[in-house]
């Protein structure tokens, strides 16, 4: 009988760190840290946030006010993320927070944004090598001082983080501060590159649009982040579906122009999971575009008025079709595949109308007219909880004019202009003149 051996399958810390941090962007890492603060902020009402209706009711509830501030400070040498949420108790830190992953027992039904139990670790490893966490809690918080390189070199099993207990504090003194210093070089460079802070601000603005001003105020540097909300016109197509404990509300309609123009950054599909924006202004095959046969057409400038919302809600965040970074969609997810089919159907009615904006006769529907087609603005949430409805395109107005367009030799146009003693006449003017000449002198119209 062959000798049975046990091959060593212990994980290497360095591999874990590398795997966790390589595929997450720096922006997503910061959002991971903000997620924890926002999660804590919504905890008091998380029981009500199980359906789209629940989200709408909480949003309309005037007694629910922002109770948590999140402060992000970025510098070349260190970053700090601080909040005044409820903090993390020493017991929770000891038993759950620093595990890599989440067991079934660890899953907290109050979590709305925390999915896989790796966000905090992934973010701090991404950022740098000296980690300081201080959390104050009514039951006593904790301190952590971690040198990542030394921790990674320590092969002691099982893996642990060295935390020390802090004394209990009253609720108004609760909160968590995370400071990362000895930043990784690429992180330090990005923070100082002149654009990153603005990019992070925009990402926060989009991602937490629902949560900002209702649950949290988020400061980046000294400036609060304003939520970026993309409303939709009341004239829209919408439907809802439920798949395996996940509710999905889909709506497509006309967006809101700014400065008389529909903007690229405010058009396309917007995907929300438990109120968090996962995908923004998508115009790619991910959301069905560029698939003229069974999907939507290639997105073109004439489609810029298109806005689509997909609002996924589940009290089990793991069932939602987001990736582990929450910055993308798990395209293989059965829920997503089903939702995408419905998105195409819902979106088609609006796309067909927008495709018909420009015709061979030269008629077109102006941006100003699209506003009337869209009707009044409604929010993502209002759209998500509404009954099924269909986009109603306006009746096609019978135009009294038609465009005439043809090619003519430049030399012939110049001859006519010379004949008329107006050598600077352009082609369009020559065309109009000759048209009117025939109408008046041959047809007899005055």
């Amino acid at each position: 009988m062959a000798e049975r051996l046990n091959a060593d399958a212990r994980p290497e810390k360095r591999l874990f760190i590398s795997l966790l941090t390589r595929d997450i962007s720096l922006v997503a890492a910061f959002l991971d840290l903000v997620d924890n603060s926002v999660n804590a902020a919504v905890e008091p009402v998380s029981d009500r946030l199980k359906t789209a209706n629940g989200y709408q009711q909480v949003f309309d509830d005037a007694t629910v006010q922002p109770s948590v501030n999140v402060y992000l400070k970025l510098a070349e040498a260190s970053v700090e993320v601080r909040d005044n949420a409820g903090g993390i108790s020493a017991a929770t830190a000891e038993q759950h927070v620093f595990k890599f992953g989440r067991s079934a027992e660890d899953a907290d039904t109050r979590d709305r944004l925390s999915v896989y139990g790796i966000g905090l670790k992934r973010a701090i490893f991404k950022l740098g090598r000296q980690i300081t966490i201080r959390s104050d809690h009514v039951e006593g918080g904790f301190d952590l001082k971690l040198n990542v390189d030394r921790w990674a070199a320590d092969t002691t099993q099982p893996w642990t983080f060295p935390i020390t207990r802090r004394d209990p504090v009253p609720p108004e003194k609760c909160g968590t501060t995370i400071i990362v210093s000895d930043l990784n070089e690429e992180v330090s460079r990005r923070i100082c590159d002149g654009l990153f802070v603005g990019q992070l601000r925009e990402a926060i603005s989009r991602t937490y649009a629902f949560y900002i001003a209702k649950f949290v105020t988020i400061y980046l540097g000294d400036q609060p982040v304003e939520p970026m909300i993309v409303d939709i016109g009341a004239n829209r197509t919408s439907e809802t579906l439920e798949i395996d404990g996940v509710s999905c509300a889909i709506a497509a309609g006309i967006g809101d122009p700014q400065g008389g123009a529909f903007r690229d950054r405010s058009s396309g599909w917007f995907i929300f999971c438990n109120g968090r924006t996962v995908i923004s202004a998508d115009k790619s095959p991910l959301t069905g575009w560029a698939n003229p046969g069974t999907g939507l057409p290639i997105f073109q400038p004439k489609h810029r008025p298109f806005v689509g919302h997909v609002f996924f809600v589940s009290d089990d965040p793991e069932k939602l079709p987001w990736t582990t970074t929450k910055a993308g969609i798990n395209e293989d997810s059965a829920i997503w595949q089903e939702a995408k089919r419905h998105m195409v159907v819902v979106g088609r009615s609006v796309i067909s109308f927008l495709d018909g904006r420009y015709t061979d006769e030269g008629t077109e529907i102006a941006s100003a007219d699209l506003r009337q087609v869209a009707q009044e603005r409604i929010s993502v949430l209002s759209s998500a909880v509404s009954a099924r409805r269909s986009f109603t395109p306006p009746p096609v107005a019978q135009s009294e004019t038609m465009r005439i367009q043809y090619d003519a030799k430049v030399s012939d146009i110049r001859k006519i202009a010379q004949y008329l003693r107006r050598p600077g006449m352009g082609g369009a003017e020559v065309g109009r003149h000759t048209f009117l000449y025939f109408l008046r002198n041959e047809v007899g119209e005055k």
Partner: protein
């Protein structure tokens, strides 16, 4: 092609602009004292038909290789005619074309004084020049600090949208308050700083050191931002000299220094000169206060004592 503003703006009587020129020259002189061989540099600017900066750069720094860019075809002939020195080469080129075609093999001081308000072409120039500059090169931009003509009548919401759509991530930190008329120069400043930082972020052989961030207004608000691309050792020496000789310029920060305009009589000016050059209590200072001048004005004059021009009329 856009027309040059030199067609109708007389550069003769712009005291704040002249102060700005003199301060920029002083920054370059400080750099020379810190070891950078400024007289061997070439100067690239936009001299229009007056070439004021060219005159000063040669007189004060000894630079005698110069290029003036004039994009307007009709102004180009006048510019060529009016070039004060034989070593100034006037080129009928946009700044973008020049950056693309020039090798930048010589140590360079480049000062692009743009017509019109902030626009994507300036950011393109910044991105392009950052790839070509060598260690020791200087780069400054001057831009109109008010809204471009297309935004003058726009709402603040539409202005912010324009910034986001046309200037992209460089406008990431611009807020709606920044694009109000009274604060617009702040928006321009933020965009320029972000664009320059971003353009040089990929360079690993040195760092862009901001040496000058000033705003001024003779008739319209203007902003000048710039500095040098330096190795760490060069930066250290320069920092010390700047802190000593030009302390009013923010060192390493991102604050805009406002070059004040002073409308003083000769007698008042003499009083200011005495007040700011004497420490402790001063009769001149008290007299100024009695005349209604504020301490902030006195302090501002102290910063700019060496730079405020004096204009005289000569009868020939």
């Amino acid at each position: 092609m856009a027309q040059s503003s030199a067609r109708w703006i007389s550069y003769d009587l712009r005291p704040a602009k002249q102060s700005e020129r003199r301060i920029l020259l002083d920054v370059l002189k400080v750099a020379a004292e810190a070891g950078l061989p400024l007289p061997t540099y070439r100067y690239v600017g936009m001299g229009a038909v007056r070439f004021y900066d060219f005159l000063l750069v040669h007189r004060y720094l000894g630079i005698d290789r110069m290029i003036s860019l004039e994009h307007d075809k009709r102004m180009y002939r006048r510019a060529e005619f009016n070039a004060p020195f034989g070593f100034i080469k006037v080129k009928n080129q946009t700044s973008g074309d020049f950056i693309e075609q020039d090798s930048f093999s010589d140590l360079t001081v480049a000062w692009f004084d743009y017509d019109g308000g902030i626009g994507p072409h300036m950011l393109r120039d910044i991105s392009a020049i950052a790839l070509k500059m060598k260690l020791g090169d200087f780069f400054f931009v001057t831009v109109y600090g008010g809204p471009p003509s297309s935004l003058v009548k726009s709402s603040d919401v539409d202005r912010l949208a324009w910034f986001q759509d046309h200037l992209g991530d460089a406008a990431g930190e611009v807020t709606i308050e920044n694009v109000e008329n009274a604060n617009f120069i702040t928006a321009v400043h933020k965009v320029l700083i972000a664009a320059i930082k971003s353009a040089f972020a990929a360079r690993r052989d040195g760092r862009f050191r901001f040496l000058l961030q000033v705003q001024y207004s003779d008739s319209v608000p203007m902003i000048t931002v710039g500095g040098a691309f330096l190795a760490d050792g060069q930066t250290l020496a320069l920092n010390k000299n700047l802190a000593r000789q030009l302390p009013f310029l923010a060192q390493g920060g991102e604050q805009l220094y406002e070059i004040s305009s002073f409308h003083l009589t000769e007698q008042e000016r003499a009083l200011f000169d005495r007040a700011v050059t004497r420490t402790g209590r001063s009769r001149a200072r008290n007299t100024l206060r009695k005349l209604g001048f504020r301490d902030a004005e006195i302090m501002a004059y102290r910063d700019l004592l060496r730079y405020v021009p004096r204009y005289v009329e000569t009868i020939v």
